[in-house]
Amino acid sequence: MSLKFPIYMDNHATTPMDPRVLEAMLPYFTEHFGNAASRSHRFGWVAEEAVGYAREQIATLIGAEKPEEIIFTSGATESDNLAIKGVAEFYRDKGNHIITTKIEHKAVLDTCKRLEKEGYEVTYLDVGPEGVVSVDDVRAAMTDKTILVSVMLANNEVGTIQPLKEIGALCKERGVIFHTDAVQGIGKTEFNVKEMGVDLASLTAHKIYGPKGIGALYVRRARPRVRLTAQMDGGGHERGNRSGTLNVPGIVGFGKACEILNKEWREESKRVKALRDRLKDKLFAELDECHINGAWDDARRLPNNLNVSFSYVEGEGLMMAIKDVAVSSGSACTSSSLEPSYVLRALGVEEELAHTSIRFGLGRFTTEEEVDYVAKLVVDKVKKLRDLSPLYEMAREGVNLKDIVWAAH
């Protein structure tokens, strides 16, 4: 098979839609365009039925008891906001303390920051070099004012998987509500809201080969029944939890994407992991001084993630050198803020190394040919850029870069 350029290896950012998903959606743009809230005619009924079916497909994938536990939103950012603000507001009389981690997505962290301004207290737990939060730390952070724990299923930069089952059990024991941003983990690692004691889970379709702009919040309705204060006022859709006309084609696509995963995810994860390992092995065989960021064992890392620092080669410089390949970097130079990745910082990765990190995110449509091409290209370019790197030369000469007084700017 011939390669098509550019090659996409940034599946943590978003994924291409699966053609099967697109096919399922198409009739809902033109033929079945009804408003799912229209109760008085066939157009509305057809749309409502499609939405109900999607709710079941999604509920099945995550092990929810009832389809009604799925509330549709515009994506995981909204779901995170609704879960955290909704719980914080509703349970204000019970307490004002929230526990989360330093490696959550900004949709969680910035929501928590806003709540802090409103008088809530938030504990941001460290994760250590493995990028995995410790259950003991969660336990130690709990007070009688704790109302919510929010810990992601898997991290979007380093792909590390968090011990949700243990945290879920702890939360049950303490009567604390447990939210997880499950965006990166579903369909790649085990996830079941029942088995893991998850009360709220944020999901989004565009990371699982579905469309952009549609997501969901799982809200447990029994043992315990979790209540939320709605953040969007309007027509009272989604049982009053989220007003707004439902995005029916998006929802149909989301449902289809979940149905596909439900059938295929185990196989797919195996295949993707083999490709990811192939990429890693090839890079590490040819290049010295490469460092994996975060835990590497299968139990604690997504099968599709490779986050590696190529010492002495700045990440954006490398991305430019491999510009036919779409990846991302924790380097500051890629961000407008000129700050390196806060996730890598939370892992204790030194700034020097954070600047040299590259995140490869493989996916359903990644091929072996692509992996081989990318491995060879990256090896060539890292070597070339190291020849261009004063730091590599100095390190080779035995200069300890830490002994130099650099003029930080």
């Binding site: 390196p340 020849d387 261009l388 004063p390």
Partner: protein, 131 residues
């Protein structure tokens, strides 16, 4: 962000990559930036007895714009007198390479590297005269 063609051209075919003997009294070395900031430039000039820059070399750890800025700087330096060299401004580099605002600091670093190399050379020369 999309890169300008000139940045890509320099980054793909950097001019004057290399190392001059930093112990040579006719060589001035500038090492600026910091690994923790994600950019380090080393720029070296070799100055003739007539005070003209006959050779310039660089190595850079940094983004494509930083590599391009230092590559361009070495091109501009060759054949200039020290006084002419010290007139190179980061804004000239920004203009030539079409750098966007977030990449201006890469050009500033290149200007700093030039100044620092000239200063190093002058220091060496006055030390030599003093000796």
């Amino acid at each position: 962000m999309a890169y300008s063609e000139k940045v890509i051209e320099h980054a793909e075919n950097p001019r004057n990559v290399g190392t001059l003997d930093k112990e040579d009294p006719n060589v001035g070395t500038g090492l600026v930036g910091a690994p923790a900031c994600g950019d380090v430039m080393r720029l070296q000039i070799k100055v003739s007895d007539a005070g003209v820059i006959e050779d310039a070399k660089f190595k850079t750890f940094g983004c494509g714009s930083a590599i391009a800025s230092s590559s361009l700087a070495t091109e501009w330096l060759k054949g200039r007198t020290l006084d002419e060299a010290s007139e190179i401004r980061n804004t000239d580099i920004v203009k030539e390479l079409n750098l966007p605002p977030v990449k201006i600091h890469c050009s500033v670093l290149a200007e700093d590297a030039i100044k620092s190399a000239i200063e190093d050379f002058r220091k060496k020369q006055s030390a030599k005269r003093g000796a």
